[in-house]
Structures are given as structure tokens and as C-alpha cells.
Amino acid sequence: MQGVGFAWAIAPGLDRLYPDPRARSERLLAHLAPFNSNPYLATIGIGFALRLEQEVARGSAGADHRLSRLIKALRSSLGALGDDLFWAAWRPTLGVIGAAVALATGSPIAALVYWIAYNALAQSVRWRGVRAGFASGAGIARVLQDPFWSRASGIMKTAGAAASGAVVGGALWAASGGGLEGISVFLFITTFLWLAGLRRGSRGRWLSPSVAFLVVVILLSVVVQVSAEVLP
């Protein structure tokens, strides 16, 4: 239903451009086409569509076909950019940092900071997207090809990699409190989870991360309980 959402979001603009209800209905129908994009960058598409709707409202020849064609091309570009920036970079990077801090401190503040930091970028991109899409007009390709997107994603992923390495260091340090035993347990769990997540060609992973984690906690529980019974 992103198409319905797109149409609903653009409707106030169409109300201004088309006083005639029949024309408004026709244009609203055109925007009910399927629209699947990243949710934060979708507003760029809305702004851009409104810009082109001005040409359609002025009666430019072929403007409605051009709009439809460009929106179709735009949605996949916006989806790819947004997915790479938010789903593959910003969200998991903050997730690693937030989870590490929460595991180390047990503080719910980590979750609050995570939530604020994530939305500081995501919602501001969403908010500014309408104006950016509207202002860009024919220059939308320049906006999409701006090195900002890949640079930002690359920086975030590098930070995520550093954070993941830091988690290893912190976990090994914490595990060393339990001596060689603690370090061995950590390394065993890590190795098991890594191997369980290896891909078997096209058949997916051996075990999904959540199932692998369940297997780990069950194994550990069995070991702990047997040790408690067997050891003096």
C-alpha cells in the first residue's frame, strides 16, 4: 500500500493544482500506481512528482507519460540508495554500538540514545525530502548521483566494522575475568555461530542466526546444569 500512501501524501498538492474534481481524480488515480521505495527517501519522490505535476497541470504535451516513466525509474533508485544507507549502514551500526553499551552497562539510556540518533538522520531526510525533490526537478539525477550517499554509507559501515571489532575486544576482556574458561566459552560460541551462519551455496545458511542462538543457549544450559550436578 505504499502506492496508496503516495497518493494520499500528494493529494494536498493536487488539490491546489487541479480545481476541477474530475481532473483531480484522474491525477490521483495516476499516483495510485504501485510505489515501492525506502520509506525515508520516498518523500523525494513525492516532491519530484509534484514538480512534474505542475507541467501536467499547465498542459505540457506528454508530461503525464514522462511523469509516470520517471517515477517508476525513481522509486527503484530511491529504494537502492535508502536501503544501502539506512538498512545496511545506519541502523546496524547504531545497533552494534547501542547493544554493546547496553550489554556492558545494563542501562536503558543506551536504547534512548539509539532511538534519538537514528531518527535525527532518518526523519530529517524524510522531512527535507519533499522540498529537495521539488527543487531538483530535472536535476534529480544529480541528487541521486551525489557522492554524499555512498560516502555517508561507507563511513557508517566503517564505523560499524570498528564497533564490531571493539565488541570482540570488550567481550574477550570481560570473558577473561572467568580465566581461560571464560575466554574458551566465548570463542566456542563465536565459532559455532559463525559456522552455523555459513551459506550452503544457494540453499541459505545452515541455521538462521536466531535458531543458532537458541541452540547455543540450550547447549550452555545443559552444560551448566550437568556441571552443577557433577562437580562438587
Binding site: V4, G106, V216, V224
Partner: protein
């Protein structure tokens, strides 16, 4: 768990379900946040934060890209954390049962989400027909109704998961079947999951391997200097 807490968690479950893809996407539905909120509701904020971090580590690598199907990490965390935090303080946390409940809830949430998507797809067809007939308020109305039914489905899935999870807890708590583990071991396991999932996501071949190494060395050196 009191009746008020159960109702609060069920309502929160509706919010979590909606936040994932129907509306907002503000990450209120991320495990890290869900666990913390569940902890606040159940008056155990620190434990809730820990469980949120555990499930964030487990579900870190699930990326909603393209047409990928994935478990509902938000509802999974809500149910799993609630179960873990509802055990009496005198027993070891029922980790195995809590994680199993989370997995099952994640799968339930995925199916409920799929059902909602199909229903919304039929609604989109109906909206086109209404707009073609001149009903320009159809999109807004359809969105409001879709959100209400999404909230109802999310609340329903949460209620089912909490009922089954807490009911099962009553049967297995204090028995080996609950998979008891000290929290320190759970935290270690979660750190391992965070390591594996984070490394897999960000270190692609040699790319960013040096950043990963720098992170490792910096933390070890910092802890070493601090003694």
C-alpha cells in the same frame, strides 16, 4: 505480571507491529528499544535493557531489503523479554524458554505481517476503484482502516504470544526445561552474536577489516591501560 502491565504490553505490541513497516518506521520496534520499554513496564529497566540488547544482537543481520521475508524481531523481543523478566528473582533466568518463545513469536509476527500485506493489497485495488468513481477521500479512509486493523493484528499477536509464553513459563520455571542460565553467560553469548553478525555485515572480504582490527586493538589497549 499484573493486568495493567499485560494490557500495556499488548498495546505496545500493536505500536511495535505498526512501527516496523506500516507506519513511522521510527525504530520503536527495534529489539534494543522494545526490551528497554518492556523492562520499564515490568519495573526492571536494567534487565529489560539487557534483554533488548541480547535480541538486538541476535536479529542484527536481518535486513528488510527487497522482498526478503524475515521474523518479526520487535514482537519476538516483546514476548521473549516479557517471559524472561516475569520469572521470580529467586530462580535462574529461564533463558532457553524465553528465546524459544521469541523465535516462535517472530515467526507468528512474520505470518501475521504477510496476511496484513495481502489484505492491504486487496484494499489498494478497492481504493483505485473508488477514486476512479470520484471518491477522493478513499485513500485517507483506507489508510486509517488499514492502520486500525494492523494495530488489532499486532495487539492480537502480542496477546497470543504473551499468553502462551507466560503460561508455558508457569509450567517450566524452576525446571531444567526452562533452559536456565546465569545472566552473565547470556551477556557473553549475546556479545558473541553481536560480534558474528556485525562482522558479517560490515567486513566484506578485506574491505573494512583494518577498521575492525583498529576497533579491537583500541578497546583491548584501553582496558589494558585502565588495568
Amino acid at each position: 505480571m499484573s493486568l495493567e502491565q499485560s494490557v500495556l504490553l499488548t498495546v505496545f505490541g500493536a505500536v511495535v507491529f505498526l512501527d516496523q513497516w506500516p507506519v513511522f518506521q521510527s525504530m520503536l520496534s527495534r529489539p534494543l528499544v522494545v526490551g528497554a520499554v518492556v523492562g520499564v513496564v515490568l519495573d526492571k529497566p536494567a534487565d529489560g535493557a539487557l534483554w533488548g540488547a541480547v535480541f538486538e544482537a541476535v536479529y542484527l543481520g536481518l535486513l528488510p531489503i527487497g522482498a526478503a521475508r524475515y521474523p518479526d524481531a520487535g514482537l519476538a523481543t516483546l514476548a521473549g523479554s516479557a517471559v524472561a523478566l516475569s520469572a521470580p528473582a529467586s530462580v535462574a533466568p529461564p533463558v532457553g524458554w524465553a528465546v524459544a518463545v521469541a523465535l516462535a513469536t517472530g515467526a507468528l509476527g512474520d505470518h501475521v505481517g504477510g496476511f496484513l500485506r495481502r489484505w492491504n493489497g486487496r484494499t489498494a485495488v478497492y481504493v483505485r476503484e473508488r477514486v476512479a468513481a470520484g471518491d477522493l477521500s478513499a485513500p485517507g479512509r483506507a489508510i486509517a482502516i488499514a492502520l486500525l486493523r494492523g494495530a488489532a493484528l499486532g495487539a492480537g499477536a502480542s496477546a497470543v504470544a504473551l499468553t502462551v509464553g507466560l503460561g508455558g513459563l508457569a509450567l517450566v520455571v524452576s525446571t531444567p526445561w526452562s533452559g536456565p542460565l546465569p545472566m552473565s553467560v547470556v551477556v557473553l553469548a549475546a556479545a558473541a552474536a553481536l560480534t558474528v553478525n556485525g562482522t558479517r555485515l560490515f567486513v566484506d572480504g578485506r574491505s573494512r577489516l583494518s577498521a575492525w582490527g583498529v576497533g579491537l586493538v583500541l578497546v583491548v589497549a584501553t582496558f589494558g591501560l585502565m588495568g
